[in-house]
Amino acid sequence: MKYDIVLCGVGGQGGISVSVLIAMAAQAEGLEVKQSEVHGMAQRGGEVLAHLRISDSPIASPLIPEGGASLLLAFEPLEALRYLPWLAPGAAIVSAMAPVRNIPDYPDIDLVLRELRSLPGALVLDADSLAREAGNARAANMVLVGAAAHRLPFPFERLEEAIKASFGRKGEAVVAANLKALEAGRRSHA
């Protein structure tokens, strides 16, 4: 079993933390992981890409080969389109719909979303609204993870445990808000 995930977004959206969280959940299930992330200059409002590889056998490359990923988890819709070359045929796409317009030539958002929705296996979510409804506007990332959860190669509970372990230090309220957002994401696609 091999499950490769491309996570993408814009610097500052927290893509790396999400990658770490999913990796933690996979490891709790006894799976191997290899994660690759971008630090430094690229993090300053630019395109941010993280690779997360999950397998039940040793993993060689820290980078996912093109055409190899099973899931694209996008925190921004234009960025989702940028990383299509990494997707395997029949791969799933879970993307937020809110654009980050920090460039002058950002395309018409309707065209971006239409392109994205036309792709087989694409789920485009209003993650911001779902996160607000769940009581934490800043947990849009967790909504997306929840929406992708049924595709991940381990049980949903592993994600909940990972949230408890990694947010525990910040207090019960933060843990609860993230669990709610995760659950909201899970319910959104049903």
Binding site: G12, A60, P62, Y106, V112
Partner: protein, 528 residues
């Protein structure tokens, strides 16, 4: 055996601590920054009892490490590849010393220039200095080879380099760890002539260094295994190329012979043996064609050698599991793409509300009266001011170059000359240039963007707090009447423009310090 999930940088830090590290020194630089951050984190968590200090620059960090080694203790100095240029003087000379406590220099190269101004390969510099170099290919090896490097350093009494690249530094995997070793006691190197590089002593030490390098090559032959193949092609990999090679191996019709090189000086006999078994040899290495160049030499060998110099592997940028496929005779993998919509690039940019943006606003207005002027800048977040919408700076070369270049331009007749430099970069290498400016009464205005942090690398504290900066500038000899502290904020814009204009008109060195804290640093502080 206990396991931890670690980035390459973290694995090196933990490996060093478990090897009995006593003192770590560094200057932040992507992709090496997390080595020191991890050391400091281990101290904060009570998992290490070591000195772990940021230094003014890589040279001072290296020299501190030398002192710790001289005192008999294990020490590590870490930096990015271009940082090694700054530390080159102590680095090259230290190869001649009779190292006492293990000294490991970790250099993180950045092929592809994710966050750097060049993609130089530190293996070339290790070889130049005759310093042994170990090159891990995954996180476990990063941990293991760091520990091995300390043993080797003390056994052979030589500094040992660990060379990594960006993807290893910043990727995570599980690492099996061992029981930590105890630290060395303080015990000074007693051989004065092993540490005093006066010519009569250095001549002998250099001979010893050359002999040691030769001996090491012979000794390492036994560690280099050639894997047999079933065709007449051979592959040599180094560093992360090993992983990309493994990733593609299942798709190859016939299995090539294979040698992975993980240490330098490289194993000559193993390479010769591999060459005797094949007609074609493909060299895949991250960085410069260091191994390939040595194999090609000048004289014909009768062997077909392929790699970066031959054009089969991309000569620039970073290796990937995909871009080495042509060299292996594999077609590109099938992939989809966004067909109907052009996708604009999203380059990095200054954060919303960044104080540098306000500084650039007053700089541009202040300079508007001078159609001819120069604005030389430096390395940091503010380098992003080269791009739209600011387009406020004209050069970025190396740490501290802004002041030297502005001074040189001014002395050559290009005025007014402005140098834009961050506070951390100023402490790193700007100070000595400012002293030149004072010494020659050069006509330039230095704009220090003081955000009290090293921003681009993730907000590490600067070596001295903001309150000390103006005092240091004045102590360099800049006339206090021409040293100003401004607030880098929109609300002070008019006043800032007026001060800048006055200093541009002044014939002599002046320094304007534009202060306001980095928003990322403030966020980080709140989180902690």
């Amino acid at each position: 055996m206990p396991f931890e999930t670690l980035m390459g940088d973290e694995a090196i830090a933990l490996g060093a601590v478990h090897a009995g590290l006593s003192a770590a020194f560094a200057y932040p630089g992507t992709p090496s920054t997390e080595i020191m951050e991890s050391c400091q984190d281990l101290v904060a968590r009570g998992s290490a009892s070591i000195v772990a200090q940021w230094c003014a620059n890589e040279k001072t960090a290296y020299e501190s490490a030398l002192g710790a080694s001289w005192a008999g203790r294990r020490t590590m100095v870490s930096m990015k590849h271009v940082g090694l240029n700054v530390a080159m003087d102590p680095f090259v000379n230290s190869a001649l010393l009779r190292i006492k406590g293990g000294l490991v220099v970790v250099v993180a190269d950045d092929p592809g220039m994710h966050s750097s101004q060049d993609e130089q390969d530190s293996r070339c510099l290790a070889d130049f200095a005759r310093v042994p170099c170990l090159e891990p290919s995954d996180q476990q090896e990063a941990y293991d080879k760091t520990r091995e490097a300390f043993e080797l350093s003390e056994e052979l009494r030589v500094p040992v380099m660990i060379r990594i690249t960006t993807r290893l530094a910043h990727s995570r995997a599980r690492v099996a760890t061992v029981e930590p070793k105890a630290q060395n006691p303080v015990a000074k190197a007693e051989d004065r002539w092993g540490w005093t590089l006066m010519p009569h002593a250095a001549r002998g030490l250099w001979k010893q260094a050359l002999a040691r390098y030769e001996a090491l090559q012979a000794r390492w032959e036994g560690l280099s295994g050639v894997e047999a193949g079933d065709c007449d092609t051979g592959v040599i990999t180094t560093g992360l190329a090993l992983q990309y090679w493994r990733e593609n191996l299942p798709e190859l019709a016939a299995r090539p012979w294979h040698l992975h090189i993980d240490r330098y000086p490289m194993p000559k006999a193993a390479i010769a043996y591999l060459a005797s078994k094949v007609r074609r040899l493909i060299v895949i290495e991250e960085g410069a064609p260091f191994v390939e160049g040595a194999l090609r030499g000048i004289l014909p060998t009768g062997l077909l050698i392929e790699g970066k110099l031959g054009g089969q592997v991309p000569p620039t940028g970073e290796l990937t599991p995909d871009n080495i496929r042509p060299a292996l005779g594999l077609a590109p993998r099938a992939q989809q793409a966004c067909k109907d919509l052009p996708l604009p690039k999203r380059p990095p940019q200054l954060c919303q509300g960044c104080p540098h943006a306000d500084s650039y606003a007053f700089l541009k207005e202040g300079l508007a009266d001078y159609p001819v002027h120069s604005v030389n800048s430096d390395i940091g977040c503010y380098t992003l001011g080269a791009m739209a919408p600011f387009e406020a700076i004209e050069t970025c070369v190396d740490m501290g170059a802004s002041i030297g270049m502005a001074r040189g331009a001014s002395e050559a007749g290009l005025k007014p000359a402005v140098a834009v430099i961050g506070d951390s970069t100023f402490y790193h290498s700007g100070l000595s240039n400012l002293i030149d400016a004072v010494s020659h009464n050069s006509d330039l205005t230095v704009l220090i963007l003081d955000n009290s942090t090293t921003g681009m690398t993730g907000a590490q504290p600067t070596i001295l707090p903001s309150e000390r900066l103006a005092g240091i500038v004045k102590a360099c000899g800049v006339d206090p009447a021409h040293v100003h502290i401004l607030e880098a904020h929109k609300r002070s814009h008019e006043a800032n423009v007026a001060i800048l204009k006055a200093e541009l008109a002044f014939k002599g060195p002046s320094v304007i310090i534009a202060e306001r804290g980095c928003l990322e640093a403030i966020k980080k502080e709140r989180k902690a």
